[in-house]
């Protein structure tokens, strides 16, 4: 039996500790220059980050001859592919928000802060900004050196290029954001000739400055001190949640490799190279365990695995694992966890509500307001008259001629709706009508009556809507 672990080549050992002096835990006092290492999680991170390409390209997708997704705030219309949503349908928005809130909860319960580490705009934009920084200024030690160097023309040129690129990305972010709210192809012309709405300019400026400041300067400080989700997510984790974790039992006691000497078996597998700290974008030490600064981006897994490969030890000293696993308990299948079921139930309910809402969107919505002052009027021929305001909402893109019909007490006569009512597209058109009933035909003080409206779209589709109201007569 071996009495020691395999030793590593002296050059490897030198390289391992060469820069270790620079890496220390983030206390917020200085800029973190995280090291970039290739690896499996690094690749996954690029892939997940690329989801945000939808944000930049989405506004240019066309559907049925118009922008596929357009949040047209001035006209109070929201076009989502084939569907047009009006403010009246906004209850669905609350379900959508519920859906995403619970999606965050269920994802966090299963695999920790996967949103933070792989998808969050703060993470993704910061990643992009530091990538640019690395391309221009070099590796972290070079960057640190440049930061401390006196201002020279060369430094100025590098710094100016970097800030310019950051601002351009910030601008592209703001411009893409407002593109969702306005006709995107037209925006290009209007925006750069100074003809766009001042709100657009303000929003783009806000996003430019916001992106530049948050991703360029505040970076991990946002995750530490600004972001509320980071705080909430702590309570969403449980012992079955898998997060990047340092295998303390395997790693400790940690000890540095000595050149030319085999490491004694009394030492753990951690060679204390601090590479996990070096690559950490929030500057924490994963070996302290799960902590509020960890956004679970898994870059330390890549770093540690690459070191383990170099020193000939098995991978996985830092790996995605749950607390249960370290405590020797069998991993519970995700479908055996009550949390997952409860969250999924809420998710399905929210999703079901949205699908129900989208599939039952009425083309025409009818509301009937019975006049209350006066409730009824006796006419000179002894009949009783009620007044109604009909609110006709037309969700179609074209004007509709709507016919009104009423059923109710015998002898009922509808006044003021002989001709079809022209209802403007995408809005509410009010119509005043009177209903007259011979007093002898009223059997009680309040009779139910039913309004029916019908219209035919230019394409021949017949649209109907109904609403029940009351006909009020004198007290009996």
């Amino acid at each position: 039996m071996n009495t020691s672990k395999p030793s590593a080549a002296p050059a490897t050992v030198d390289a391992l500790y060469d820069e270790a002096v620079h890496w220390h835990v983030n206390t917020g006092g200085e800029t973190i220059h995280a090291k970039r290492l290739p690896g499996r999680w690094r690749t996954i991170k690029w892939l997940t980050a690329s989801v945000w390409l939808v944000f930049f390209l989405g506004p240019y997708v066309r559907w049925d001859g118009r922008q596929a997704v357009l949040f047209d705030i001035p006209n109070r219309q929201y076009h989502l592919f084939g569907v047009t949503v009006l403010p009246q349908d906004f209850w669905m928005l609350s379900l959508l928000l519920l859906f995403f809130a619970i999606l965050l909860a269920v994802a966090t319960a299963l695999v920790g802060r996967v949103w933070c580490g792989f998808f969050c705009f703060q993470t993704v934009w910061t990643d992009l900004f530091t990538w640019i920084e690395e391309r221009l200024e070099g590796s972290p030690p070079q960057r640190r050196k440049l930061d401390q160097a006196p201002l020279t023309l060369a430094k100025l040129r590098i710094k100016a290029t970097k800030h310019l690129l950051w601002l351009i990305i910030g601008f592209a972010t703001g411009f893409s954001f407002v593109s969702w709210f306005t006709v995107a192809p037209d925006l290009w012309g209007e925006f750069f000739t100074g003809q766009a709405n001042s709100v657009l300019y303000f929003t783009v400026a806000l996003f430019t400055v916001g992106t530049y400041g948050l991703a360029g300067f505040l970076r991990e400080q946002v995750c530490f001190w600004l972001c509320p989700y980071a705080r909430i997510q702590g309570v969403m984790l449980d012992k079955s949640t898998v997060v990047p974790t340092y295998d303390e039992r395997r790693g400790e006691p940690r000890g540095r490799l000595q050149k030319g000497a085999a490491a004694p078996l009394s030492l753990g597998d951690c060679v204390d190279c601090n590479q996990c700290v070096a690559v950490c974008p929030t500057g924490i030490d994963i070996r302290h365990g799960q902590q509020e600064g960890c956004i679970t981006c898994a870059l330390c897994i890549d770093a540690c695995n690459s070191v383990m490969d170099k020193v000939g030890r098995p991978r996985g000293l830092v790996r995605y694992a749950s607390l249960d696993e370290f405590e020797g308990k069998p991993a519970r299948a995700f479908f055996k966890r009550a949390r997952v079921w409860v969250y999924s139930g809420i998710l399905m309910a929210a999703l079901g509500g949205i699908f129900y809402g989208l599939s039952t969107l009425d083309a025409v919505d009818l509301k009937v307001l019975h006049e209350r002052a006066p409730l009824f009027v006796t006419l000179s021929d002894g009949s009783v008259q009620n007044r109604y305001t009909l609110k006709l909402l037309n969700k179609m893109p074209e004007a509709l001629a709507v016919r009104i019909d009423v059923t109710g007490p015998a002898g009922l006569k509808l006044i003021g709706a002989d001709a079809p009512i022209a209802v403007a597209p995408g809005g509410v058109t009010p119509a005043e009508v009177f209903i007259k009933v011979p007093r002898a035909n009223l059997t009680r003080e309040q009779e139910p009556i039913r309004f029916r409206v019908e219209t035919v779209r230019p394409n021949g589709q017949v649209i109907r809507a109904e609403r029940t109201s009351v006909f009020v007569g004198p007290p009996r």
């Binding site: 206390t27 002052a373 006066p374 006419l379 002894g382």
Partner: protein
């Protein structure tokens, strides 16, 4: 505390929670301090530009001369300018023409709702629902005619009804017969009045105001209009004075309407809203406002 500090030398206060949460002694960031001083500068600048310092009776006016009332007046002027295009149209049109223009009618109704609430509602009720003694405006019974022109005449010049108190003119039996006849007329829409009632109606002077057909019309003109003194139509299903019925009709016949010297008399006075001769030709409402009210009243449900 400090001697057990697990993070020595990182400039923390020594307060550590949960093993790794600790309070650091970093100075406020520079941007924060800049923002702080900038807010102070803003405050000083604001005090110079805007009303702020309470010195004496009035605060310092500020060198911009801004005030809330000025801002309100500017905003109100914008609103007036926006309304001008509708108001100009209304000024050039008759009420009947406004009613025929759906867009302008909507504007007029919205504008007149406030006017009606301020000037008419106290007597005629919200939405023209009427009040005891005050006519319902939402029905189709008009004492003086329900065409836009007649309504305009009524609002501009006011109205005052007259009916003799028959307490000393008729016997109690005659009043009783007439009151019953009025109820019969109401219930049958003018078709079932008793013979004695008709005789009394025609011989005791009622016909002079209520007209031959007892419908309040003295002369029916070929254009559909009629000449009237404002006497009630006795052949329809509406009572001029609620609650209606025998006792109510008897009361009206006995004490009349607007009779000086009869304390129990019914009151029926519509004030003058146009130029008032008894008040130096001052007008409560201008012609534009009256026009809007005409449209509003006409559209309440019974306009002709």
């Amino acid at each position: 505390m400090a001697e057990n500090n697990p993070f020595p030398g990182e400039n923390n206060t020594g307060h550590v929670w949960d093993g790794n949460l600790r309070e650091l002694k970093n100075p406020p960031p520079r941007w924060w301090m800049l923002a702080f001083w900038a807010s102070l500068a803003f405050w000083v600048g604001y005090g110079i530009l805007y009303p702020m310092w309470p010195i004496g009776q009035q605060p310092t006016p500020g060198i911009l001369g801004w005030s809330q009332i000025k801002e309100y007046q500017e905003d109100a002027a914008v609103l007036t300018a926006k309304r001008a295009k509708f108001e100009d149209k209304i000024a050039a049109m008759t009420p009947a023409e406004i009613i025929a223009d759906p867009g302008l009618k909507q504007y007029t109704l919205a504008a007149a709702k406030v006017l009606f609430g301020d000037n008419c509602r106290a007597c005629h009720g919200t939405g023209g629902a009427g009040n005891p003694g005050f006519p319902v405006l939402a029905d189709d019974d008009w004492l003086y005619g329900g065409t836009p022109a007649k309504i305009q005449e009524t609002i501009t010049g006011g109205r005052g009804g007259q009916m003799t108190a028959h307490e000393k003119v008729l016997t109690a039996a005659e009043i009783d017969t007439l009151a019953k006849w009025v109820v019969q007329m109401h219930d049958t829409l003018g078709k079932g009045g008793s013979e004695e009632g008709w005789t009394l109606f025609k011989t005791k002077g009622c016909i002079a105001c209520h007209g031959e057909k007892a419908n309040g019309h003295l002369v029916d003109l070929p254009n559909g209009e009629f000449v009237t003194l404002g006497a009630a139509n006795l052949t329809d299903g509406i009572w001029r004075y609620e609650p209606g019925g025998y006792e109510s009709a008897k009361y009206t016949i006995t004490y009349g309407v607007n009779q000086p010297g009869v304390p129990q008399t019914r009151i029926a006075v519509m004030p003058v809203f146009g130029p008032d001769a008894t008040h130096g030709n001052q007008a409560k409402l201008g012609p534009q406002e009256i026009k809007k009210l005409v449209v509003y009243v006409h559209e309440l449900g019974g306009g002709q």
